[in-house]
């Protein structure tokens, strides 16, 4: 399956490359393309470079674009408008670093273009102190599942394990909530999961709702049993 790609549009080549580096670490199979700086190496954005980056990132299932500052948005918009299929690229208003990480993890999990864009948008304020995700209300007739897991792995739900969990959630058709004590997080959001700060020895509760609820819980249990492949 071809994964959705990402394009990081920035005024600075080094900033774009840095964001790509951070996002790619969490999503090894996603093409994250940098479009930073002007053609002559200065500060600014280059529409041609953005178009080329979209072409690199879009392997057939589309690309999500993130940008740093105002005029980068305008240049990115222009670039998208010039594509032969403007619907193949989505420009997302999201915090650049958090958005890129969240989008990369969603893309790695096989999420489609709209879902990757949603993941990026959802990253706004997704760090520590973010409002807790509402636990899905269980409605009759919708499959749901729940399990308590004691974390035995070395680092708990830190970066890589959180990314693996979020990727697992992205791959199934279920809404997943992870709870630690009074705090809850949307299982599809790597940043929200990390922000729980769940450590080795902590007990988390995973609840899922939707057609694949049972499968979601089973896969996460397996993941934890394997100590998140540490």
């Amino acid at each position: 399956m071809t994964l959705v790609g990402l394009v990081v549009v920035s005024h600075s080549a080094r900033l774009a490359d840095g964001v790509v580096e951070v996002a790619a670490q969490m999503a090894p199979d996603v093409t994250v393309a940098a479009a930073g700086g002007t053609a002559d190496g200065g500060i600014g954005t280059d529409a041609d470079a953005v178009i080329a980056a979209i072409e690199r990132a879009d392997g057939g299932t589309g690309a999500v674009l993130l940008y740093d500052l105002g005029s980068a948005r305008m240049v990115a918009e222009l670039a998208v408008e010039t594509l032969s299929d403007p619907d193949s690229a989505l420009l997302v208003d999201a915090p650049l670093v958090e958005g890129a990480v969240a989008a990369a993890v969603a893309a790695q999990g096989g999420a489609d273009l709209a879902a990757v864009a949603r993941a990026a948008r959802g990253a706004a304020g997704g760090g520590p102190g973010a409002p807790a995700a509402a636990e899905p209300v269980v409605s009759p007739g919708v499959p749901h599942a729940r399990v308590a897991i004691r974390l035995a792995n070395e680092v708990g739900l830190h970066a890589r394990p959180a990314a693996l969990l979020a990727r697992t959630v992205s791959a199934v058709d279920a809404q997943v909530t992870v709870r630690l004590g009074d705090a809850t997080a949307d299982g599809a959001s790597v940043l929200a999961v990390m922000a729980l700060g769940a450590r080795r020895g902590d007990e988390i509760e995973v609840s899922a709702m939707g057609p694949d609820a049972g499968e979601a819980v089973r896969r996460i249990e397996e993941l934890a049993a394997r100590d998140f492949d540490e």
Binding site: A39, I43, D46, A47, D48, G70, M74, V75, E77, L78
Partner: protein, 208 residues
């Protein structure tokens, strides 16, 4: 007597000269409330436009404007690239393949240019941007003038007043908006460059 592609190309070359002449002024205005690159970027963009025109002059006024648009979009780097680029692109599209431009066509092009700037930058009058110069310019252009020179002169005069009106404003769009109250008491560089462009077009039209 209307403006041909050659006339439009000549006007664009004159604009490039004016931008080069005012490069430092625009840099200084932008340095006060923005990132200081407006004069540099616009000068680089219009110099590239002139190089392209040196290679060949397109056949229609719209094709000249389209060349300006695509060159500015790829060469400018800052906000002026997509904003002026979209303005020239929309103007070109609105003109179709008309071989010559009369006053009505020039008004149509200006209205389309304004529409493009607003669509791209989402700014309104009072935000302290080029829109503050362009909106009154287009309104003045629409007042039933019977020559291209009169249309452009009215637009340029109104743009000057519009740009002046940005001085006391607190910026709500663009890099200057990060300064909040400190952006007041400065002329907006984008409004200033819009005025320079319109004044240059008007001067060329008056001289031909």
């Amino acid at each position: 007597m209307g403006c041909t592609a050659d006339d439009v190309a000549k006007a664009v070359r004159a604009v490039a000269a004016v931008v080069a002449e005012h490069r430092v002024e625009l840099i200084q205005l932008d340095r006060a409330i923005g990132d200081g690159d407006h004069g540099e970027n616009l000068d680089r963009g219009f110099k590239a436009v002139v190089s392209k025109l040196d290679e060949s002059t397109p056949d229609t006024p719209a094709a000249v404007l389209k060349l300006v648009a695509t060159t500015l979009i790829s060469k400018v780097g800052g906000a002026a690239g997509p904003l002026y680029g979209t303005a020239f692109l929309r103007a070109a599209t609105a003109l179709g393949d008309a071989p010559e431009l009369g006053p009505a066509e020039v008004v149509t092009a200006l209205e389309a240019a304004l529409g493009g700037v607003v669509a791209r930058g989402k700014a309104e009058v009072g935000d302290k941007t080029m829109v503050d110069a362009l909106v009154p310019a287009v309104n003045a252009a629409k007042a039933g003038h019977d020559t291209v020179a009169a249309v452009l002169a009215a637009a340029a005069d109104a743009a000057v007043a519009g740009a002046e009106s940005t001085v006391p404003l607190v910026a709500r769009k663009g890099r200057a908006s990060y300064l909040g109250e400190r952006s007041a008491d400065h002329l907006d560089p984008g409004a200033r460059s819009t005025t320079l462009l319109l004044r240059s077009f008007a001067d060329t039209a008056a001289g031909s």
